[in-house]
């Protein structure tokens, strides 16, 4: 009598509602499983690589030259070569990429010009890396007569990584509020003055992120440098930072991993694994830096 009947409780779960809830939890579980499926192999592979590489991971690996037909010794020439390639491609791609993004976002008014450039950027990003290699061979090695050289390889890398810089710079420019620009124009500044004083400083962290991602991409690429300037082996003084000239070929970490694992017979398995771990370490560290820059600016943003 004083207990309410079950059927009158308005919050009681209906049959259909319970079915929905069960379906919902099952779907959630399945989706979480799919996501785990994505991450678990990665973790397993990384752990396996680490274990495999452990016997060869010594400090001497970084600072020595390869010896005994690359079966022993370290990675120094490849490491310096990667620094050269990445640094040079950065020097070429950053000014062009940032300026291109500024044009795209701040200058281009005609929508069809904008659209054509946009499409070109997307396609440039989508061109396969081996086609970039063909382009580098045809344009820089033979066309511009640079020969197989550090210069030709880094120019090829610069072309390939340009879209990375353009896209991220453009996004960070878009994140600067239009009212900032208008305020600056209203006190009589020209377009370039506005850019230099207001827009670029505010967009700097985003631009930096793009540049860092470019570094990571350039450091890991193999195909574009395979036929433009990377070489299997080159003897340099261990510890020498200025080991290469721009008109000669160089070694590179990514290329070295490819060579070690497919072209050199009788390598103990720890050595290529250790090379992979070093390359992976470089790339992931650089990416972590990009993530850090981004999350810091997100929490420090003043608008």
């Amino acid at each position: 009598m004083n207990k309410p009947a079950e059927s009158t409780n308005p919050f009681r779960e209906t049959e259909a509602g319970a079915r929905q809830r069960r379906l919902e939890s099952r779907v959630r579980l399945a989706l979480a499983g799919l996501t785990l499926l994505l991450i678990l192999p990665l973790v397993a592979i990384l752990v396996h690589l680490g274990v495999e590489a452990w016997p060869a991971l010594r400090w001497s690996l970084l600072v020595e030259s390869p010896r005994n037909g690359m079966r022993d010794g370290g990675l120094w020439p490849a490491f310096v070569g990667t620094l050269y390639l990445v640094g040079l491609s950065l020097v070429v791609a950053t000014p062009v990429g940032v300026a291109a993004a500024v044009y795209l976002h701040e200058y281009a008014r005609d929508s069809w010009v904008n659209r054509i450039i946009q499409m070109a950027v997307i396609n440039l990003a989508g061109v396969p890396s081996i086609v970039h290699a063909l382009f580098g061979l045809g344009a820089f090695v033979y066309g511009a007569r640079l020969g197989y050289s550090v210069l030709a390889a880094s120019l090829t890398l610069a072309v390939m990584t340009l879209p990375v810089i353009i896209t991220s710079t453009r996004e960070s420019l878009a994140a600067v509020p239009a009212s900032f620009r208008e305020a600056c124009w209203n006190v009589g500044a020209t377009r370039w003055q506005t850019l230099r004083a207001v827009v670029l400083p505010n967009a700097l962290p985003g631009i930096l992120t793009g540049v860092i991602l470019q570094v990571s991409r350039a450091a890991g690429e193999t195909a574009p440098i395979l036929f433009t300037g990377a070489v299997f082996f080159k003897s340099v003084t261990p510890g020498d930072l200025f080991a290469y000239r721009l008109d000669e070929q160089c070694m590179a970490l990514a290329m070295h991993l490819y060579t070690l694992s497919t072209q050199v017979p009788g390598v103990r398995p720890a050595l290529p694994a250790a090379t992979a771990v070093v390359l992976l370490g470089v790339v992931l560290l650089v990416n972590a830096a990009a993530i850090l820059v981004r999350s810091r600016t997100r929490s420090h943003r003043r608008w």
């Binding site: 799919l34 396969p128 033979y142 370039w192 991993l257 490819y258």
Partner: protein
């Protein structure tokens, strides 16, 4: 206090105007750099490939219709790229069978079913997954995955179609996940709120509202994942076994267009017929990815316009 300059003010203003003009010219020129570069890529690979089309021993129908790829044969050199095309198509197709369901599932989970710290962590992991260089993936295929496959399947060699497809699916997953997530996020909040107000559960909301609303973006994500898989070079070079043939099972070795260029360009003397045919396969690759990318761009644009 007035700001002082070393130059008289008339000169100073002229200097400012001059440098500004120069900088703006640089910005304008750079603005068209990507257009210029795409055309330059097209020009240079065509320039190297074109002379072969008029060579007497070369026929385009053989190039596109034959599986006989013997570029260095002593008796009769044959350039039939069909085997390479089929290789690319089969590896890409099998990898999509894995990466599309997994990628969509992960993207839905990321954007609709988890929040806060889990979400941020997962996004970082996916970003790092995208950063792993292709040569490292190739190395993984060559060593880890091939051992797994030899243990799990009756395959005699571990480097084959399935290995390449598994590696490729792991590589294109981050692209598919992040772009699909963007597409789901771009469905207007009003649609979301309307569904929730009607009492829809998360899953009903996803299935009936978000997926149909984001279908253009999702298709574009799948296409861009396909583009990435088609263009991937080092990973497939090291993981697929590199034998030119028409695969009849998942455990057959294959060779893709990209891997073929990477494997043979080093041995083809510059200007030779073989060298030019390799550039021709480059033109083919460029064409395929161009179509895929334009299609994806058109879909994204169409999706935005339809709203």
């Amino acid at each position: 206090m007035k700001p002082r300059s070393l130059l008289p003010s008339r000169w100073r203003s002229r200097w400012i105007r001059c440098s500004e003009t120069l900088i703006e010219a640089w910005i304008r020129i750079s603005g068209f750099s990507s257009v210029f570069l795409v055309l330059a890529i097209l020009f240079f690979i065509f320039r190297e490939a074109f002379p072969v089309l008029s060579r007497p021993g070369f026929s385009l129908t053989e190039f596109l219709g034959s599986v006989e790829w013997y570029p260095t044969s002593a008796q009769r050199v044959r350039y039939g790229a069909l085997g390479l095309l089929v290789g690319t198509a089969s590896v890409t197709g099998v990898s999509l069978l894995i990466s599309v369901p997994a990628g969509l599932g992960a993207a839905i989970f990321l954007s609709e079913f988890c929040t806060g710290r889990t979400r941020e962590t997962l996004k970082v992991v996916i970003e790092l997954l995208a950063a792993i260089p292709s040569v490292v993936w190739g190395f993984i295929g060559l060593t880890v995955m091939s051992q797994v496959l030899r243990w799990a399947t009756p395959a005699a060699v571990g480097v084959n179609l399935l290995n390449g497809a598994l590696i490729l699916s792991l590589m294109s997953l981050p692209v598919i996940v992040s772009l699909t997530e963007d597409a789901l996020r771009s469905v207007p909040d009003a649609h979301r709120e309307a569904a929730e107000a009607l009492g829809a559960t998360r899953w009903q909301l996803t299935w009936r509202v978000l997926l149909p609303g984001a279908r253009h973006g999702i298709l574009a994500a799948v296409l861009l994942g396909t583009g990435r898989a088609v263009g991937e070079t080092m990973a497939v070079l090291m993981a697929t076994g590199n034998a030119v043939n028409l695969p009849t099972s998942l455990l057959d070795p294959v060779r893709t267009l990209t891997a073929n260029i990477a494997a043979e360009l080093g041995e083809a003397p510059a200007g030779s017929e073989h060298y030019r045919v390799l550039f021709l396969t480059g033109v083919l690759l460029f064409g395929i990815t161009l179509v895929i990318n334009l299609l994806a761009e058109w879909l994204v644009r169409g999706g935005r316009k339809g709203r």
